[in-house]
Amino acid sequence: MNTLRKTWHPYVSPFDPCTPIKVKTYSTPPNLYMGFQPPGLEQFTPMQALRAGTLWKAFYDPWYSPYEKAREGQQP
């Protein structure tokens, strides 16, 4: 449950006109699991927090384009 990306396998028809995407992913960010934020969570430093967009490490879930990563030769 506590992964921030989920995957699923859409049906692939033998007659699909485009190259089928066999695995699709979607985002399940931390806010879905937290409920009311408990006290005492770990914090970024103020400078890190300004860059990250959140003070709380538990809520940090940046999105990178899978295509951009593929271009860089990394795993999506």
């Binding site: 806010n31 937290m34 809520f59």
Partner: protein, 189 residues
Amino acid sequence: MWVYEKKLQYPVRVSTCNPKLAKYLIEQYGGADGELAAALRYLNQRYSIPDKVIGLLTDIGTEEFAHLEMIATMVYKLTKDAAPDQMKAAGLGAHYANHDNALFYNNAAGAPWTASYIQAKGDPIADLYEDIAAEEKARATYQWIINMSDDPDLNDGLRFLREREIIHSQRFREAVEILKEERDKKKFF
């Protein structure tokens, strides 16, 4: 009343003149789940929401205007020196005919912003659930724009904005929890 601070919430850097990206990014400016719709939605709903969560709507609605300003800066930088030919090639020919290189509140398909994008039902749970949905939709929109963009500097700013959507959604969810608890308390009277 607002106090204006003459700087952006997060620095906006754009590495290439790319009017095509501006055409997609305008979705977050004048689209249904864009920053304008978000700001106006929250700053309007706050009048009829229980006292305990008015401040939250005020704060988030205000921050949405700071995001609107960032998106405006991004779109402006992406198009400011684009010649009519470049605008046409980017699919912005109709926009250029109507607005020159000015910004306008419309979505990526060119449909102008409309108040029917937002709701105020007066029911606190209904309104907060709409707000949560709006934040998740804006988060997803940022994902799709990042997927289409190959400008690393711009993506940096977009990632910041997407992270803020996650935090806003979290705070709206907490607001719902606060109101649920309030309702339970009455049972003990």
